[in-house]
Amino acid sequence: MPSLQFPLRDTPAEAPALRAELRAFLAEAGRDWPPMVPAYSWMGFDGDFSREVGKRGWIGMTWPKAYGGGERTALERYVVLEEMLAVGAPVGAHWIGDRQSGPLILRLGTEEQRREFLPRIIRGEMAFAIGLSEPDSGSDLASLRTKAEKVPGGWKVNGRKVWTSSAHRCDFMIALLRTAPAPDPKAKHQGLSQFLVDLRSSGLSIRPILDLVGQDGFNEITFDDVFVPDSMLVGQEGNGWEQATAELAFERAGPERYLSSLPLLTEALDDLRAEPAASEAVGRLLARAATLRQMSLSVAGMLQEGHTPAREAALVKDAGNDFEQALPETIRRLVDTGRTPPQVLEMLGLMTMVARSYSLRGGTREILRGIIARQLGLR
């Protein structure tokens, strides 16, 4: 039973200069963000903001220069991500493209796909949505039923995808679709393929789903004979499950899995000085934050070396979700509602609600712990 190892990493030598640049940019960009912005952070969508980020070379940082990328290291990219998240920047319009769609296209896409999509993702002009969950397929993702049937020149897609964040504002989705029936119920991971789907295709409709805060963050997408050209198949036909699983390692590995609620601690801290119980509680939060940061950096280092640390990422995401969900509750126990400034209370209220999504999105706590248990050798 090999236990998971998290060797320590240092941030790169470029980090301090990069941080200074980012902090100056974010201080200016975030001057008027209402509490709603940090409360949603990477689920928030702001096309103008993402284009500004793109102009500064902070999207596709590690990708080849041939496509407009920066050929910088994964750890430099990590610094950019954590600086964005620490202030809860509304990075949703480029986050998915930068984190998983772009890397997938780069790894497995055709040269034509790379030339068409990567430069636009890098400029912050093309937003991607995730196309995994379906109404009847959540944690049991491989049971998905939206299917693509072969037709001359392409594929005809029918079915539904759901919980698709910001789909109504996105341009493309990478959809995992069934292209062949599963040979038997135990082999449902076979016969799946990934496609680039234009969200403005004819026959595709997007219905917003309000979340419990009342925001139109996510959507249901219905495919009614949507035509997807052959040129939009990503990777190998029938290899979609393996591809999507590797994509999930990227999706789960980042600092967004523990930092989602940190802006609340920053915002509330000054007003906690008068509360005697605050110092112990804040100290415990900081100890966890510093440790999770080292774990998260360690996973970023593994990605940098070309590994696919799927299990390590699952563990860090699970531990990170515990922390980012506990944070608003901890602050709630400390604030004096009579004295606390309204913007702190507003952010606390929003994060209390939004925090429920942390241990759902990108793999539920139960699924992640199942992955960890298998790694431990439990069957």
């Binding site: 941080r19 601690l265 906690l272 112990e280 415990r284 699970d318």
Partner: protein, 334 residues
């Protein structure tokens, strides 16, 4: 340093695998000094491992020490080697030649592990270090680990010296916190392994209990805590190597807090999975978990360290929180 560290950890792990058995642990709790184990540790030069080479030691750093202590925790090592190593390191840093044999370590407000067996005691209050030869020891034992824990009757110190500034005003407490955090992290690894083995062999309802999701979820959570404790300890050791004990106060505090919390959660889970058999004297699980509980309180419980870093963060304010967290291992931009 990493090669030496790996070699040393392997050496000590082999030694402890042979010698740190339940019988020795139980005998230690009954007051029997594990002489063979101690002599073998001495033969390897371990008590002086943190003393610089020019002062007769091996010149290892705090990061190496933390890795070694974690390995000792994995075997619930029943010797006060970590204390003796720390005592020797502090004495040497203050210009006092560490005596041979076991040197006990005094921590503020705590009884001294195995004091009765020590010819010498090191104290390090307020940036000074002092070597004592206590005239007597009032014998006692720890309430949870049940290992000997004694109060010294002090005479005049044999030697006194000033610690370099990098050790700060409470070097012994910081080193003690790193020691306790490291051995909790190690012991947690051991009990997690034991519990996974148990869950895979113990059958109920016709199958191993490890096949039940309820049990899997608990152990997965435990694994997360074990990993966090290990990372926090490694980070603290690295920080102490880079910035000295005082400069690593934040990381050491974080390690003590995280390993303390992980120790509480982890011990709770491994006992729950072992159920009644793990609650018996006969089963070795408690030889580890009782030490985890005791080490949580050694060199300051989580509360003490959390208040320290919490007070510092509150004083600095929200505007500095993130910058302070990220700047610790980075050279500031020009």
């Amino acid at each position: 340093m990493s090669d030496i560290r790996d070699m040393l950890v392997e050496q000590v792990s082999r030694l402890l695998a042979d010698r740190s058995d339940p019988a020795t642990l139980r005998a230690g709790e009954a007051g029997t000094w594990p002489e063979e184990l101690w002599s073998e540790a001495e033969a390897l030069g371990l008590p002086l491992a943190l003393v610089p080479e020019e002062q007769g030691g091996t010149g290892l750093g705090w990061g190496d020490a933390a890795a070694l202590w974690q390995a000792m925790g994995r075997h619930a090592a029943p010797i006060p080697l970590g204390e003796s190593m720390t005592a020797a390191a502090l004495l040497a840093a203050a210009g006092i030649t560490p005596p041979t044999g076991f040197i006990a370590l005094g921590l503020p407000g705590e009884a001294v592990a195995w004091g009765r067996r020590a010819a010498h005691l090191a104290l390090a209050p307020g940036g000074e270090a002092a070597l004592h030869a206590p005239t007597d020891w009032q014998q006692g034992r720890g309430p949870i680990a049940r290992e000997p824990a004694d109060q010294p009757v002090l005479g005049t110190p044999l030697a006194e010296g000033r610690l370099p500034a990098a050790y700060g005003p409470d070097a012994a407490l910081l080193a003690g916190a790193l020691l306790n955090a490291a051995r909790i992290a190690g012991a947690l690894e051991a009990v997690l392994d034991m519990t996974v083995d148990y869950a895979n062999t113990r059958k109920q309802f016709g199958r191993p209990i490890g096949g039940f999701q309820a049990v899997q979820q608990l152990l997965a959570r435990c694994a997360g805590e074990v990993a966090a404790a290990g990372v926090a300890v490694a980070n603290a050791g690295r920080a102490a190597d880079r910035r000295g004990l005082a400069g690593a106060e934040f990381e050491i505090a974080a390690a003590k807090i995280v390993s303390g919390e992980a120790g509480g959660t982890g011990a709770e889970i491994v006992h729950q999975v072992h159920a009644a058999i793990g609650f018996t004297d006969e089963h070795p699980l408690h030889l580890y978990t009782r030490r985890i509980w005791a080490w949580r309180d050694g060199a300051g419980p989580e509360r003490l360290w959390a208040r320290r870093i919490g007070d510092a963060a509150l004083a600095r304010g929200g505007a500095h929180l993130w910058a302070d967290l990220t700047s610790r291992d980075e050279e500031p931009a020009a």
